[in-house]
């Protein structure tokens, strides 16, 4: 174990919020309720994609990443990039829950004149490192950050959350090549593998399998996990990097629309907005989950 890793471990003890799995589950539930309210009020899409990552975000911000809502530009913070920018509502909700800005601000999502755009934006929103929306950009920028951090001897890590459909983009694989060549073990890519993309299941669009093998052949450490089991996911992410000198990818098996029975595993809820009875039923399911 090198000095950077030792420093990282000591900082982890000092700075991570370390919520229990039960509290992480409650945090994720609150995030989903915020997302439902935000997307329904704004009439926006992507509720399924946001629900898919709620548990991952809760674990990252509640138990894994070193971050400080009072100092969003703290030099040694772990950087988080949502590369699948269309799920931005979930990031806004998580940041609000963490105290980066008042929860009331979430009411501005998707509204005229708001900073809280449908795709995640850094402008005017403390805690967001990178505005995204066009897929395939986040990993490359994160890898660049990681390279700079490593050169500077900064122990911070860069966590990039990707979608599965996003892995259709060639730039993901360009960045994957770069990260392994430069031995960037301060990069953690998490793939929200809910297996449904915009118009159809991944398997019917552009088959990604054998997915794990692809990443392994790119010389990344690969870990698979249940993306909704907060306790198990925490244990996996506490062991990053999986191998010194290599970037790690966590293939998180998830369910699109997770948390609302009629939204789960459907293509429809990539775009559909919950209104009326659908909203009431969704809210009830989330509140009692």
């Amino acid at each position: 174990m090198g000095p950077l890793h030792q420093l990282r471990d000591s900082l982890t003890v000092l700075s991570a919020a370390c919520l229990s799995p039960s509290d992480l589950h409650k945090l994720a539930r609150r995030v989903r309720i915020h997302v439902l309210n935000m997307t329904s009020r704004g009439g926006s899409s992507h509720v399924g994609a946001a629900f898919s990552i709620a548990d991952i975000l809760a674990v990252l911000y509640g138990a894994i990443m070193r971050h400080d809502p009072v100092r969003p530009n703290w030099r040694e913070r772990d950087r988080f990039i949502l590369s699948k920018g269309h799920a931005g509502a979930a990031v806004y909700a998580t940041l609000a829950e963490m105290g980066y800005f008042p929860i009331e601000n979430l009411r501005l999502h998707y509204q005229d004149g708001s900073c809280f755009s449908g795709h995640v934006s850094h402008k005017g929103v403390p805690g967001v490192e990178l505005s995204t929306g066009s897929l395939g950009h986040g990993l490359g920028v994160g890898v660049g950050m990681a390279k700079a951090l490593m050169l500077a001897g900064n122990p911070a890590r860069v966590v990039v959350l990707l979608s599965d459909g996003e892995c259709d983009e060639g730039t993901i694989w360009e960045a994957a090549l770069f990260a392994q060549h430069h031995r960037l073990d301060n990069v953690i890519a998490i793939i929200d593998y809910n297996k449904i993309q915009s118009l159809a299941p991944v398997a019917e669009t552009l088959q990604l399998e054998p997915f794990r093998t692809k990443w392994e052949s790119f010389n990344w450490s690969v870990v698979e996990a249940n993306g909704h089991d907060c306790g198990a996911l925490t244990q996996v992410l506490l062991k990053m990097p999986a191998a010194a000198g290599k970037p790690t990818v966590v293939i998180a098996h998830t369910v699109k629309g997770k948390g609302v029975s009629f939204m789960e595993n459907t293509v429809l809820w990539h775009y559909r907005t919950a209104r009326g009875d659908e909203f009431d039923r969704a809210l009830k399911e989330l509140e009692t989950s």
Partner: protein
């Protein structure tokens, strides 16, 4: 221009550890000395210009001043969305350097002709857009870009432009007056200034006197001298090794129209709405597409008579 850029950047890198040069696997022999002297300030990103730009953005957001380096359209059009969404929108200190403006790589074919990059890059908000007209301007522009916050584009020609010491200080965005005349005001960007200088000499022999304004930057662009020129010359002639649509010619027309300046006889010399499907040396293609010195003389004479 390429060598002058690398030489100048080396001087700066020696005293500024924030400088980072990332190449998209191009610069054979040209970058060897830089790489040897500054191994921690050099990365070969491989043949992956999009990722090169993304990595540059990430490093810039962490405090580096990053120059991305490639040729023709590769660092610009290939990575355009990364320049727009990531570098420029985040105000990242990414300096996009393209070697081979216009027909610099003429024999290599259409893929290597950079003839729309100025128009496209100048349309991006907050992107400083520079095309030096001489070696001296190349060095001055390189220094200026290091101290200019945000994302910049530096377009370097094979044509080194005219030699000679500068008679005026370099101020980023201010067109320099290289020659003062009465009849024609040439407004020029890039190394094709060498053709314009010859053309102005040729016109002088026929009794037509010319001013020459060297425009090294399309953004920022200080309009005062060009607006003044419109009121004191019989014709304004823009010259660029680039499409006439949206580049320097468009910029000057927009500037004059916005200012309510008199637009009398106006001529845009450049590539007129076609792909440059012919191959050949830079000078050959200038002749083919009507922008070498002889063609400039003829076209200006015709425009003055029309």
């Amino acid at each position: 221009m390429r060598d002058r850029f690398v030489h100048t950047l080396s001087e700066i890198a020696e005293r500024d550890p924030r400088i980072m040069l990332i190449t998209g696997d191009l610069g054979f022999a040209v970058l060897d000395d830089y790489r040897r002297r500054f191994p921690r300030q050099f990365i070969n990103a491989g043949v992956a210009e999009q990722n090169m730009t993304l990595v540059a953005t990430g490093m810039a957001l962490e405090g580096h001043i990053v120059f991305t380096y490639s040729i023709g359209n590769f660092p610009t059009l290939r990575a355009l969305e990364m320049i727009r969404n990531d570098a420029a929108y985040h105000g990242a200190n990414v300096k996009v350097v393209s070697v081979g403006g216009g027909f610099s790589y003429g024999p290599l074919g259409i893929s290597h002709h950079a003839t729309e990059d100025l128009a496209i890059m100048r349309s991006l908000p907050d992107v400083t857009c520079v095309a030096p007209t001489s070696l001296w301007e190349t060095a001055e522009a390189t220094k200026a870009l290091v101290t200019t916050p945000g994302t910049c584009f530096l377009r370097l020609d094979k044509d080194r432009g005219p030699d000679g010491p500068a008679d005026e200080a370099f101020l980023l965005g201010r067109p320099r007056i290289l020659r003062r005349g009465r009849d024609v005001a040439f407004v020029v960007t890039g190394g094709i200034l060498s053709e314009v200088t010859k053309a102005a000499d040729g016109l002088e022999q026929t009794g037509i006197s010319s001013s020459i304004y060297a425009v090294h930057a399309l953004r920022p662009f200080e309009p005062d001298r060009i607006i003044a020129a419109a009121g004191t010359h019989r014709a304004i002639v823009t010259v660029e090794e680039h499409t006439i649509h949206g580049g320097l010619g468009g910029l000057v027309l927009e500037t004059l129209a916005d200012a309510g300046a008199p637009i009398g006889k106006f001529l845009r010399i450049g590539l007129d709405g076609c792909f440059s499907s012919v191959v050949g040396s830079q000078s050959y293609l200038r002749t083919v597409y009507g922008m070498d010195a002889a063609a400039i003389v003829k076209r200006v004479q015709k425009r003055l008579l029309s």
